[in-house]
């Protein structure tokens, strides 16, 4: 497998930025959309949690993911703990695989991210199936594919505030 061509030297992340990005993702998830977009809409909160678990494992981990899972459960009206369970499992996988994923180039990250999100969704679906005996259909998993496709863009956006400004004194 190819590894990332060059490791950039980035500024440290501000904790405020992490919180802001997570809350914006939560807002995006609350945004009411049409029924068609609803099916391919990625789970933004899960994406952001995954990103921060991979890049800032000391700041965002299983606990944060669990708390956001509870918030999503209340907002979406799902069973209490359904998303919390899935998100904490996702965070754990991300923490285990994070060195591997962060070394990969962005197109190889696609497969890893999509798979991790698919596992997360499978946990949600399985919980729903066990607790309420409903299967939602395979289209539900489309969201993870969209999330995988959006991953490079997300990575670029979130790294923007970390890029060092060009030094004006340099000749």
């Amino acid at each position: 497998m190819e590894i990332a061509p060059k490791e950039e030297i980035l500024l440290p992340v501000k904790p405020g930025f992490i919180a802001l990005s997570l809350f914006s993702a939560f807002l995006l998830d609350l945004l009411p959309l049409g029924s068609f977009i609803e099916w391919i809409r990625p789970d933004f909160v899960a994406m952001l949690l995954l990103y921060w678990c991979i890049h800032q494992p000391l700041r965002v981990g299983i606990g944060t993911s669990w708390v956001f899972g509870i918030l999503v459960d209340v907002a979406d009206g799902t069973l209490f703990g359904e998303h919390a369970l899935a998100y904490s499992l996702m965070a754990f996988i991300a923490l285990v695989l994070r060195r591997r994923v962060s070394m990969l180039s962005l197109d190889h990250q696609f497969t890893h991210v999509t798979l991790i999100l698919l596992i997360m969704q499978a946990v949600v679906v399985l919980t729903g199936f066990v607790a309420k005996d409903i299967f939602v259909g395979w289209a539900y998993f489309l969201g993870s594919l969209t999330a995988g496709l959006l991953w490079p863009g997300l990575t670029y956006l979130l790294k923007l505030p970390q890029r060092p400004k060009p030094d004006p004194d340099r000749i």
Binding site: I62, G69, V74, D76, L85, S88, F92, K132, I134, V136
Partner: protein
């Protein structure tokens, strides 16, 4: 401990186990008990401002759309509405006369009059994203005296009923929600039945009707009012297809909801009427039934 300097608390596996156990505890208590209602309502109130913020772009787009809408279409719509209004008014007059007559007849029979339930107008904030259920959130809650269990209707018929009430919003379970039962009556012949939601599609399932039941496509189903939740006589659905396959014990009857279950933004929440009298307790030993005459 040799790694004291770099201690980061418990290992990820320990944390994961803790949070998985916590989630399972919450899940089980949510499915089987209702201890967590208040906690849930508290969190819902806390995220309500965020939900309103998320609604803003949509409302703004709607406002811009309204503003730029051509005047001609408004005039056209106005004409249609006026015509509708006239027709409705005429129907209302007849309805009033009938109601008076009905009240009078009921008084003669000594029966209790049907009370017009007070109602609250509410607006649908958003569909819940839970693909396992069909629920919507509306913008009226405890502050508007909404009561859990109230029926929710639009201008064409029943939409669903209030499931949970939060301080500023409430959760409505649609009649198309999986296994949401609605007691109905066939308008044509007064036959009583129960429709259930399919969950996945916007259709309803009329269950437990034997093969020789007199029911045809096009029949209108109205609420029977037997459950004490929905007032009687509200349109619920029209029968789409009737499949009388002798292989099955019951006919498979599919119905289409009368109300725009996922079309309109404005809905009406009806306060529940008086609850039905309790079901008489079963006798300990059922005596053999003999001819009653």
């Amino acid at each position: 401990m040799e790694h004291e300097l770099f201690s980061r608390g418990p290992s990820p596996a320990v944390r994961l186990t803790f949070f998985i156990l916590l989630s399972l505890l919450l899940l089980v208590s949510d499915v089987h008990y209702s201890y967590l209602k208040t906690l849930r309502a508290g969190i819902a109130t806390a995220i309500y401002p965020l939900q309103r913020i998320a609604m803003m772009p949509v409302e703004l787009l709607g406002a811009i759309g309204d503003y730029t809408q051509a005047q001609s279409s408004l005039i056209k719509e106005n004409a249609i509405l006026q015509k509708q209004n006239l027709e409705d008014r005429e129907a209302l007059l007849r309805y009033r006369a009938l109601q008076q007559e009905n009240d009078h007849l009921r008084q003669l029979f000594g029966a209790k009059a049907r009370v017009d339930a007070p109602s609250v107008m509410a607006e649908i904030l958003y569909d819940e994203r839970d693909p396992f259920s069909r629920k919507v959130i509306v913008d009226k809650g405890l502050q508007a005296h909404v009561i859990a269990g109230s029926a929710v209707i639009d201008n064409a018929g029943v939409i669903g009923q209030v499931l949970q009430v939060y301080p500023f919003s409430s959760e409505i379970s649609l009649i198309t929600d999986k296994d949401h039962p609605t007691p109905v009556q066939v308008l044509r012949n007064g036959l009583r039945a129960i429709v259930f939601g399919f969950g996945s599609s916007n259709l309803l399932d009329l269950k437990y009707m034997s093969l020789n039941t007199d029911i045809r496509p096009g029949d209108l189903l109205v609420t029977s009012g037997l459950d004490g939740t929905f007032p009687a006589g509200l349109p619920v659905a029209t029968v789409l297809t009737v499949d009388k396959n002798p292989v099955y014990a019951f006919s498979r009857i599919t119905c289409k909801p009368a109300a725009g279950v996922n079309r309109y933004r404005q809905v009406l929440i009806l306060a529940p009427g008086s609850p039905p009298p309790p079901i008489p307790a079963a006798k300990p030993e059922p005596s053999p039934v003999r001819g009653k005459k």
